[in-house]
C-alpha cells in the first residue's frame, strides 16, 4: 500500500481555537498524481498545506512519506518536497535571478537549471530586473520558479494561479502536466474548479476544517450522473455542510 502512496496523513488535527481547527484528516496522496485541494474561503486549505510542509506542527496525528513515518519539521522530510506559498512577497532589493540563485544555492542546484526554470516561467528576459519592477503575475511566476528548481518528488502549490493572466494560467496547466510526466507528484490548492477538472487526477474537498470528499475526478463527476461538474459537487457539499 505504502508503495502506491507518496504521502499518507493519518488522523491529522490542528487546533487553534474551538472555532478554528482542522479536524482529524486522513488521506493518502498517490505517487505521480495531481491532487487538487478545494474548498471555500476559510475551509482550511492553507492550514492543511502548512501542516504538509512542516510550517506548523499538527496537534495530533501522524504523517508518512514514501511509506515511512516522518517528522514534518525535519530536514529529511523538507528535502522531499518543494513549495510555492500563497501571496509571496519577495524582497524588492533583489533581482529575480539573484532570488532564484539564492534558493538554488541552498539546495546545491546549478545555475544552468536556474536559467532553464526562468525560461519555463517566462522570466528569463527580465531576470536582471529588480523584483520591485515585477508585476503581481511576475512575482507569482517567480514563486512558482523557486518551487520548480528542486528535483524533490513532491510539488506543493498554494493558490498557484492567483494573479496570473489567462495566458499564464494556460502555461501553468502545461507546466504542471509536464512535471507530472517527469514523474513528480503534485498537490495544489485552488478556488478555480475548471482548472481542477482539467488537470487534476484527484480532488480533496474541505469544509470548515473537515475533509468532506477525497475522490478521483472522473468518479466525482460521473457518479450515476449525479454530478456532471465539480461545481455541482462543490455546491451540493456546501449545502450539506450548512445543514
Amino acid at each position: 500500500m505504502s508503495k502506491e502512496y507518496l504521502i499518507e496523513l493519518e488522523g491529522i488535527t490542528k487546533r487553534y481555537t474551538e472555532h478554528k481547527q482542522i479536524g482529524e484528516i486522513s488521506f493518502p496522496i498517490k505517487k505521480g498524481e495531481i491532487t487538487a485541494l478545494c474548498g471555500g474561503n476559510g475551509a482550511g486549505k492553507s492550514t492543511l498545506i502548512k501542516l504538509l510542509t512542516g510550517i506548523i506542527k499538527p496537534t495530533s496525528g501522524t504523517m508518512k512519506a514514501d511509506g515511512k513515518p516522518v517528522d514534518p519539521m525535519s530536514e529529511r522530510y523538507k528535502a522531499f518536497f518543494s513549495y510555492m506559498p500563497d501571496d509571496m512577497i519577495f524582497p524588492n532589493q533583489l533581482t529575480g535571478l539573484e532570488m532564484l540563485l539564492f534558493f538554488a544555492g541552498l539546495q546545491g542546484i546549478a545555475k544552468s537549471r536556474v536559467d532553464e526554470v526562468l525560461k519555463r516561467v517566462g522570466l528569463f528576459e527580465d531576470r536582471r530586473k529588480l523584483i520591485k519592477h515585477y508585476s503581481k503575475g511576475m512575482q507569482q511566476r517567480l514563486s512558482l520558479a523557486q518551487a520548480l528548481l528542486s528535483a524533490a518528488p513532491l510539488l506543493i502549490l498554494d493558490e498557484p494561479t492567483n494573479g496570473l493572466d489567462p495566458f499564464w494560467v494556460f502555461r501553468f496547466k502545461e507546466i504542471i502536466k509536464e512535471e507530472k510526466e517527469a514523474g513528480k507528484t503534485i498537490l495544489f490548492s485552488t478556488h478555480i474548479l475548471s482548472i481542477v477538472e482539467e488537470i487534476a487526477d484527484t480532488a480533496i474537498f474541505l469544509e470548515e476544517g473537515k475533509l468532506i470528499y477525497h475522490e478521483n475526478i472522473d468518479v466525482l463527476t460521473n457518479t450515476a450522473g449525479k454530478y456532471n461538474s465539480l461545481e455541482k459537487v462543490f455546491f451540493e457539499k456546501q449545502i450539506v455542510g450548512v445543514k
Binding site: I55, E75, M88, Q93
Partner: protein, 274 residues
C-alpha cells in the same frame, strides 16, 4: 554552507536598503563631531576623559537603536512577507537560518561602526588628538560587542512580532528602557533596599542591562573607575578582579545565547501560526 549563503543574502538585502546608508552617515557624522569637539582645548578637561566619555555615550545611545531597528524590522518584514516561512520549508535547519541571518545583520552593522570609527580616526589624526590608538580600538571592540548583544535582541523581537509596526514599537520600548530609563528604575529600586544592599543591587543591575554592562566595562578598562565616586570603590575593586571579569564574560555570552534560544523557540512555535 547554508549559513554562509543565508548570511550573504541577508547582508545584500540590508546593504541595498536605504536604512544602512542613513544610519552609517548619522553615526559617522556624530562620531566626527564628538571627536572634534571633545578634543578641543576649550573643554576644561583633558582630551582623554571628555572625548572618550562623549564617544562612549554616543555608542551607548546610537548603536542599540540602530541594531534594534535594523534587525527587528528586517526580520519582522521577512516574516510578514512570508520569505522566512518559505525559507523554513527548505532543507536547512532553524539554527542555520538564525545564525546566517544574525551574521548578515552583524556584518552590516560592523560596516556602519567601522565607517564611523574610521571617520573619527581621520579627524583625530588631522587634529593631533591626544588619544592613543589602543583606546580607540578598545572602544571599537566594545561598540561591536554592544552591536552583538542588541542584534541578538533585535532578532528575537523581530521573530516575536507579527508585523513590522509591532517590531518597531517593541524595539523603541526596549531601547528606551535599556538606554534612557534603566538608571531611573535602578535608582527607584534603591529606595526600597537598605544601605548595605545598595552595592549588591547596583552590581546586579550592571549585568541585567547590556548597555550598563558595556558602560561599566568600558570605564573600568580605561582606568576611569574614579567616575563612580568613593562610595562605589568596592564595586570597582570587585569588578576589576577576576570574578568581576569572569562575570562580564559570562553575562556577555548570556546576552547572546538567551535571545537566540527564544528566537529559536519563536520560530518553532509561532511561524505559520499567525
Amino acid at each position: 554552507m547554508s549559513i554562509y549563503k543565508i548570511a550573504r543574502q541577508q547582508l545584500t538585502l540590508i546593504m541595498r536598503s536605504k536604512w544602512l546608508g542613513s544610519f552609517g552617515m548619522l553615526f559617522a557624522l556624530l562620531a566626527v563631531f564628538v571627536t572634534y569637539f571633545g578634543n578641543s582645548g576649550q573643554s576644561g578637561y583633558t582630551g582623554f576623559s571628555r572625548m572618550t566619555a562623549s564617544l562612549l555615550n554616543l555608542n551607548l545611545l546610537l548603536i542599540p537603536l540602530i541594531a534594534l531597528l535594523i534587525g527587528s524590522l528586517f526580520i519582522a518584514g521577512e516574516k510578514e512577507d512570508r520569505g522566512l516561512m518559505l525559507l523554513l520549508t527548505y532543507p536547512v535547519s532553524v539554527k542555520s537560518v538564525l545564525v546566517g541571518k544574525y551574521i548578515g545583520l552583524f556584518l552590516s552593522l560592523w560596516s556602519v561602526i567601522t565607517f564611523g570609527y574610521g571617520a573619527a580616526a581621520i579627524v583625530m589624526f588631522i587634529g593631533n588628538a591626544d588619544t592613543s590608538i589602543s583606546v580607540m580600538f578598545l572602544f571599537y571592540f566594545l561598540s561591536l560587542l554592544l552591536a552583538v548583544f542588541f542584534l541578538a535582541l533585535s532578532m528575537m523581537i523581530g521573530l516575536w512580532s507579527r508585523t513590522r509596526f509591532q517590531a518597531l514599537g517593541m524595539s523603541l520600548i526596549v531601547w528606551a528602557i535599556s538606554v534612557l530609563f534603566y538608571e531611573f528604575i535602578v535608582m527607584g529600586l534603591s529606595i526600597f533596599v537598605t544601605k548595605e544592599w545598595i552595592l549588591t543591587l547596583l552590581s546586579i543591575s550592571i549585568f541585567l542591562n547590556p548597555v550598563e554592562l558595556i558602560r561599566v566595562w568600558a570605564i573600568l578598562s580605561l582606568d576611569g573607575a574614579s567616575v563612580f565616586g568613593p562610595n562605589l570603590y568596592d564595586l570597582t575593586v570587585w569588578a576589576n578582579g577576576w570574578l568581576g571579569q569572569c562575570l562580564f564574560v559570562i553575562a556577555s555570552l548570556l546576552w547572546v545565547t538567551v535571545p537566540f534560544y527564544f528566537s529559536h523557540l519563536f520560530v518553532k512555535r509561532r511561524i505559520g501560526n499567525e
